[in-house]
Subunit: 231 residues, 2 copies
Amino acid sequence: MSGGLDSYTAAAIAKNGGFELYALSVLYGQRHAREIDAARAVAAALGVARHLELPVDLRGIGGSSLTADRYVPRDRDLDAKEIPSTYVPARNTIFLSFALAWAEVIGACAIFIGVNALDYSGYPDCRSEYIHAYERMANLATRSGAEEHARIEIRTPLIDLSKRQIIELGQRLGVDYALTTSCYDPSPDGAACGHCDACQLRLRGFREAGTSDPGRYAPEVDDEPVGEPAR
Amino acid sequence: MSGGLDSYTAAAIAKNGGFELYALSVLYGQRHAREIDAARAVAAALGVARHLELPVDLRGIGGSSLTADRYVPRDRDLDAKEIPSTYVPARNTIFLSFALAWAEVIGACAIFIGVNALDYSGYPDCRSEYIHAYERMANLATRSGAEEHARIEIRTPLIDLSKRQIIELGQRLGVDYALTTSCYDPSPDGAACGHCDACQLRLRGFREAGTSDPGRYAPEVDDEPVGEPAR
């Protein structure tokens, strides 16, 4: 649970499907630590059974503008196919591994992750081939897998959705996106920059869904839906 | 690199094979934090290019007598097939995920891990089926895998060896096992207990190899090779 809109929507889908929720947030030395406050608000709104915040300092590994003191790109072409500098090496593999350990301890039968192959086409660990390989490995890695009962499923309900579809689905499920934050490079007062990849994807999604983004942006950012006058 | 004899031997094999070594130690809230001092001594002895110590607090996940305040079993039957309480859920999956992230950043072509299927038959994540599934997943998870160059191999040179064979191989490669510590439950002065699974396996291995264990044990522990009088 990152505090962004994808993990919130994925969790709302799980809840709507009758699952009891155990939410995991990884504190990984990201620049945008404000995400954790958003994650707590989202966990509370969902009524999770438990919210585990797991600290791990990935800065020693480096390799990403999200964990190192490196420039976060602004107004990048989202349709470019290269892997952006915000890619955190093996991040989903690390996150899923924590989730797998916890799932084994609490006896969970599924891990929901809000990965999305369309919007993050440059991220290798958001593709369904990767998720299927992870699930296969996970069931060999664990006590439950080894004992051939209670397999663990990796569920990716957003993997083939556009950001617009994710937002429309979340709104039907009653999520409150005002609680969320997505920006990779917020200002000191917490306003989203409107120019990093995450902001661009999010703003475009809300525009295409024909609704305003309830997130808080730096003053000059146009967060109105397409076709309506900017404030 | 745990500070135990398996990871040291696996690293010595890699070095002997011409690899430049980057050593990763995970500080995971284990009871036996003294392992880290041993890992540093081992890394120095091997002349590694870098030794990364990565802190992650797995105690929030729980589920193991190594990370929780639970009793470490003594004099357990090593041939019993149940999974022991010292099993840390998904531990190798978590460790390999950190290694994978670092491997991607530094451009490493192989990850060596000292897992052993014979001595740890109760641990699902020490089996070769698991390692193969991990390797397959790893090459889908990463930038290099996605770009179809520079695949990452997971190497497990000890997986089919007995502890005796591991010790004999290490000794041929000139490792200094006096630097290592294996005990799950050392005394406050750092002496190994001689009774936990790790001590039992290690003592048996040295006995079968016909040599004394250079590790430091609590006074009553018999660490002499088979057939020789106890001190």
